[in-house]
């Protein structure tokens, strides 16, 4: 059964130095508040897994939380590079960063396989693509019926999945809506999980029988953090802060301005600071 905790407790109880961690959310519902708590608690040597590393991992990498990044598209979407990632990967600042690179199809299939308890995923992919030559975790498998050659990648298995959702109920069930990405898969592929939510409600109430729900017994910790996905967004609650994504480019370009930003907006703040973002109309 999911425990309803404070954010600092949830991160302390679930994230350990050296863990394989995914903070997922495909543009939508990215768990920024939880990532900030991971930064505040100075977690180290994490292997960070995420299809689209985005600002959330730029911040973690820039603060030296990660040893390794597993990803399929690394950038500030529609804006440009992730400067902290590039500084770590290209210059080793603040420390060296190893990478394992895939395509989106590979990672989506690998999350699916992880949730399904399979050791690997099969898909028609990487044909003619050079990634298969530089990543030893991309292999070939032959269909035993047609002899077609397909790609295989290991399932994603996580120590911790951290995601953000719209709602949890008092029983600890979690409901997602909108662009749901690989969040359900990530939680089901993880030993432990933290779900931050916009609100904890008494009951979900009227809904489709096919609503996307994680039952409480599949979830580790639940934390209510209003606005906790900002500058990402929460469908039905608030919009993506595209302006902040653009503003991140100059902030993150320079090591000092990055550190100053983290100091002001992360180290000296708590999850309550996100609430203001939830007040903007959806």
């Amino acid at each position: 059964m999911a425990d309803v905790l404070e954010l600092d407790e949830a991160v302390e109880a679930n994230v350990r130095d050296g863990d394989v961690v995914a903070m997922e959310g495909f543009t939508h519902l990215i768990p920024f508040a939880a990532a900030h708590e991971v930064i505040r608690q100075k977690k180290k040597r994490l292997t960070l897994v995420r299809m689209t590393p985005d600002l959330i991992y730029d911040q973690l990498i820039g603060m030296g939380a990660a040893d390794k990044l597993v990803f399929s598209w690394v950038g500030n979407p529609g804006v440009g590079s992730l400067h902290r990632f590039r500084d770590a990967y290209e210059n080793g600042w603040p420390g060296p960063l190893a990478i394992e690179e895939h395509s989106h199809a590979a990672m989506a299939n690998a999350y699916d396989a992880g949730a399904a308890g399979l050791p690997f995923a099969v898909f028609r992919g990487y044909r003619g693509a050079e990634l298969a030559k530089v990543n030893p975790n991309i292999k070939q498998i032959i269909c035993p019926f047609t002899r077609e050659k397909l790609a295989a990648v290991p399932a994603i298995k996580l120590d911790v999945a951290i995601v953000h959702a719209q709602k949890a109920d008092r029983e600890g069930n979690v409901m997602f809506e909108g662009i749901v990405g690989v969040q359900k898969e990530a939680v089901l592929a993880a030993k432990r999980s933290i779900v931050t939510v916009e609100e904890v409600v008494d009951e979900f109430g009227a809904r489709s029988p096919n609503a996307i729900i994680l039952p409480s017994w599949t979830v580790g910790a639940i934390v209510q953090v209003r606005g906790g996905a900002h500058p990402s967004y929460a469908h039905g609650y608030y919009k993506r802060d595209n302006a902040f994504y653009k503003a991140w480019d100059p902030i993150s370009r320079d090591r000092d301005s990055f550190r100053a930003w983290i100091d002001e907006h992360v180290m000296r703040k708590g999850p309550g600071a996100f609430a203001v973002h939830a007040q903007r109309a959806a």
Binding site: T27, P77, V79, H104, N109, G125, G128, L131, I179, R240
Partner: protein, 258 residues
Amino acid sequence: MTASYSPTEMMTVAAARALKNDDVCFVGIGAPSAACNLARLTHAPDIVLIYESGTIETKPNVLPLSIGDGELCETALCTVSVPEIFRFWLQSGRITTGFLGGAQIDRFANLNTTVVGPYKKPKVRLPGGGGAPEIATSCGRIFIAMIHSKRAFVKKLDFVTSLGHGKGKNDRARRGIDTEGPTKVITDLCVMEPDPKTKELTVVSLHPGVSREQVTEATGWPVRFSNKVAETPPPTEKELRVLRELYARTAAAHGEAA
């Protein structure tokens, strides 16, 4: 009479025109999104746009900044998970047209969005493949839209992120790939198509006012021109108006948040 327009507008308009009303289009990140939505707002109102974020038949009123903006979900017929979009929708072969861009392209329309320089020690680390490696081989055909420059149109890619026509000729078929691959490369200078036999990109149409020399100058290999090079019809007033309105709405929407 048409209004004046920028080369990028010409590129977007030419790309939009290549799309048909009955296309099912997988829209990768970046420039393609403008072309696909321009097509939808002009001659192809029923075109089906699918974004890798899982949004199916989306009809955004403003262009998304990211591939998963709320606008895409709110205006979609339905939204599925990311594993489903890659498995049931892309891999299954039901997409007619994929739209790609890239940092580098070679004469056979192979693309690089991974690194400039060696993979393990890159001069510039680019975003990587994202959906491109599988879009490039699973869609019925591929359109590519890119700004024409010697840095982008290179003799040899630093890295093959996604397959075009490989080493040319029947290289795709030889690899067991039964989709067409890139059938059009639309730039701010011209439109190129693979030669039916060699599959080398060939200029088939120059945008108004663009000379062969300009294209040659902006291309990193000795570029070929087809026997009959057409002039791309300039953007119509309607195309320009709709495109500019789309950009204006987008700018207003993206600037709004604090």
